[in-house]
Amino acid sequence: MSKNRRRRRFTHPLTYVPKPVGVGFVAMVSLALLYLWMGHKCTQYSEEIKRLDDQCAELDNERVREDTKWNGMKTAEQLDGLLVRNGLLMVYPNAAQIVRVSGVSRGLPTEATALASAGTGIVRGATRVASVRTVR
């Protein structure tokens, strides 16, 4: 008898919390944790978006800077200077020196005809053969 009484005395205290109160408590804690987790994720995502935005802008700026640097290197003055330093003299070809390769035989439009048909005006590049002389 006394043994039974002693065992009843040391029953775990949580068993005294009513079930609805316990469930409510757990639910509230869960909601609070969920709220905190969601808030944290939102902050994380927004910071990630901002970081990527900044990176995108940074890369774009870098691209523009590099483009500008490249354009500064290939100005007509620079190219003329390089030609002179290397003893080259370039002149525009005469009409007879220009070789036009027609795309008809291969059934493909040449770059020149494609440009001309696109209405870009002056046709450059593909049709031009520059006369190059070496000056010593």
Partner: protein
């Protein structure tokens, strides 16, 4: 008894916990849903739009003006943490920013000023490297957009420049004329910052992204412009001229292919020269055209049938007394209309002007575009001077030969291109199209006929006469271009000073087009105050020839004469007959 006490304690602790949770939840709801004062600081930032790029006619491969984003550092001596060494910071910064260390140390020493800007433009990577260095404090950053012109002085008189203010605005040229398109629309961020002045990103209330400025595509060609500017500089230096300008225009469309002025300026450092150097002389200087005006008097005479190309007049021995004044001439004896133009006869053309009469001559000059702005898409265009009141016979005879009238370079070239284009005058323009940051074309210029002052056969007849100017016996044999027939006219006009024409100061000019039988482009060259030579045929005509030859080859204008050399190769060799 002990069990009851334990149970009571459990209930009490549980009650307290629930109370705390309810309190916290209530507070949470109040903070998030309630209408209370915000704890963090509201924050607003303007997002600057990137200024649009300017390209030449070759498109994206040739940007003439671009906007680069940089960070400019500034020093706040009071913000330097006590644990940091100013000398070490200055050494580090001087290495990264390529600045003199003493300059940075001076900034740290001046403790009164909290915002001392360093003259350095830093890219994002270097900025981040310095900003994240934990041994550096007292350095702040400002975002700066720097307008850069990669080609330097090229096209500077057309493109203009942007001022160095925080809100960049166009100061001249296309930068000014198309400023509203180029500058874009600023954006804005509204949100909150925490106590460390860092944005709380998820509390942004508004984000309006900036709309970058539109890109401008010019009709000018960088390669032709290079040639024109080089030739202009050479002639101005050779003849010690105070100024010079040249234009290349496409005859059938009115597109300006090149437009150059001398002296010029570097738009990257526009503030280093005076405002007079910023001018686009080709559109803002009105000059007396001299003999180049004679073509229009003759064209008017032919169009009104007061003369024909066979009309002959006796100009005597080169001196004509009329209305109490003497008019001298290079030509002598009986000459026809063609000879009058090729020899640039003053007396012949002055008589044609009188035959035409004041009103008709004035009407023709207006129809050719003189005396009013052409509304070219550039700022600062002058209208020239064409007197509106009664002229009288003396003035009529003189205006007919290009005295007492002032024109701009673009007016004169446009009028010649009108003759080359069968009498149809096209509106000149330098902006081909404007494309916004999304790639949509917001404005596009197309060829537009402004007037038709003369009949096509008259334009063709005058063109044939103008070919004689560059042939043997003409006034501009130096304007000849190998393998092309050139039509053009020289002009040598005295500069008026203090109410009289100067005997030593002149405008030397040449204007023409080629190939004469089927013109593609026209070129005008004007040299102001050349010394010691001053004749248009001697000073300006050779420059015309060099520019025209290079442009014709560049544009692959078909030649009229037999080719100079044998072909290097043929694309399709003739088929061999099979026996």
């Amino acid at each position: 008894m002990h069990e009851r006490l334990l149970q009571w304690r459990m209930w009490f602790v549980g009650f307290l916990l629930v109370l705390a949770m309810v309190g916290l939840t209530g507070r949470l709801c109040f903070l998030h849903l309630g209408d209370q004062e915000p704890v963090s600081r509201p924050w607003e930032m303007k997002l600057s739009a990137r200024r649009g790029t300017i390209y030449d006619r070759n498109g994206d491969s040739n940007p003439m003006a671009v906007c680069l984003s940089y960070h400019q550092p500034f020093i706040d001596p009071q913000a330097v943490k006590p644990k940091h060494d100013k000398f070490a910071i200055a050494t580090f910064l001087s290495q990264r920013l390529s600045l003199d260390r003493n300059i940075i140390l001076d900034c740290f020493a001046a403790t009164n000023a909290r915002h001392q800007v360093l003259q350095a433009m830093v890219d994002d990577r270097t900025c981040r490297e310095i900003a994240t260095n934990r041994s550096i404090s007292g350095v702040g950053w400002e975002d700066r957009a720097v307008r850069t012109y990669p080609q330097g002085r090229r096209m500077s008189s057309v493109i203009g420049f942007v001022n160095k203010e925080r809100e960049p605005e166009g100061g001249a040229g296309i930068e000014l004329h198309c400023n509203s398109f180029l500058k874009g629309i600023s954006g804005r961020i509204e949100g909150e910052k925490d106590g460390r002045q860092i944005e709380i990103v998820d509390r942004r209330t508004s984000y309006i992204p900036p709309i970058d400025g539109a890109s401008i595509y010019l009709t000018l060609d960088n390669n032709i412009q290079y040639k024109v500017e080089n030739e202009l500089q050479q002639v101005a230096q050779e003849f010690r001229a105070t100024g010079a300008w040249a234009i290349v225009e496409k005859v059938d469309t009115g597109e300006i292919l090149a437009m150059a002025s001398y002296p010029t300026f570097d738009p990257n450092r526009y503030y280093e020269c005076g405002s007079m150097d910023w001018r686009n002389l080709a559109i803002c200087v009105s000059y007396e055209p001299g003999s180049t005006m004679k073509s229009f008097t003759v064209a008017g005479g032919l169009n009104e049938r007061v003369i024909t190309h066979d009309t002959r007049m006796d100009v005597g021995r080169g001196t004509w007394f009329f209305a109490g004044h003497v008019l001298h001439d290079h030509a002598e004896g009986i000459i026809d209309t063609s000879t009058a133009l090729s020899k640039s006869s003053n007396i012949f053309v002055a008589r044609v002007a009188l035959l035409l009469g004041e009103n008709r001559l004035k009407a023709y000059q207006q129809a050719f575009g003189f005396g009013s702005r052409l509304e070219i898409d550039l700022p600062g265009e002058a209208s020239g001077v064409l007197r509106m009141g009664r002229w009288g016979e003396l003035a009529t005879s003189r205006i007919g030969i290009g005295q007492g009238v002032a024109v701009t370079g673009v007016q004169m070239l446009n009028a010649y291109c009108c003759l080359a284009n069968g009498g149809r005058r096209m509106r000149p323009y330098v902006v081909s199209r404007i494309v916004d940051s999304q790639g949509t074309v917001v404005q596009e210029n197309h060829p537009q006929v402004m007037s038709t002052p003369v009949r096509p056969e008259v334009a063709a007849a005058v063109t044939r006469m103008l070919i004689g100017v560059t042939e043997e016996g003409g006034t501009a044999t130096r304007a000849k271009v190998i393998n092309y027939e050139v039509a053009g006219k020289t002009g040598t006009a005295q500069i008026p000073q203090n109410g009289h024409y100067s005997e030593t100061e002149y405008w030397a000019s040449f204007v023409g087009f080629l190939p004469a039988e089927k013109p593609v482009f026209g070129v005008l060259v004007v040299v102001e105050r050349p010394h010691p030579q001053h004749m248009g045929g001697y000073v300006a005509a050779p420059v015309f020839a060099k520019i025209a030859e290079a442009t014709a080859k560049y544009l692959e204008v078909p030649t009229v004469a037999p080719p100079e050399t044998e072909p290097l190769a043929v694309a399709h060799p003739p088929m061999r007959k099979v026996p």
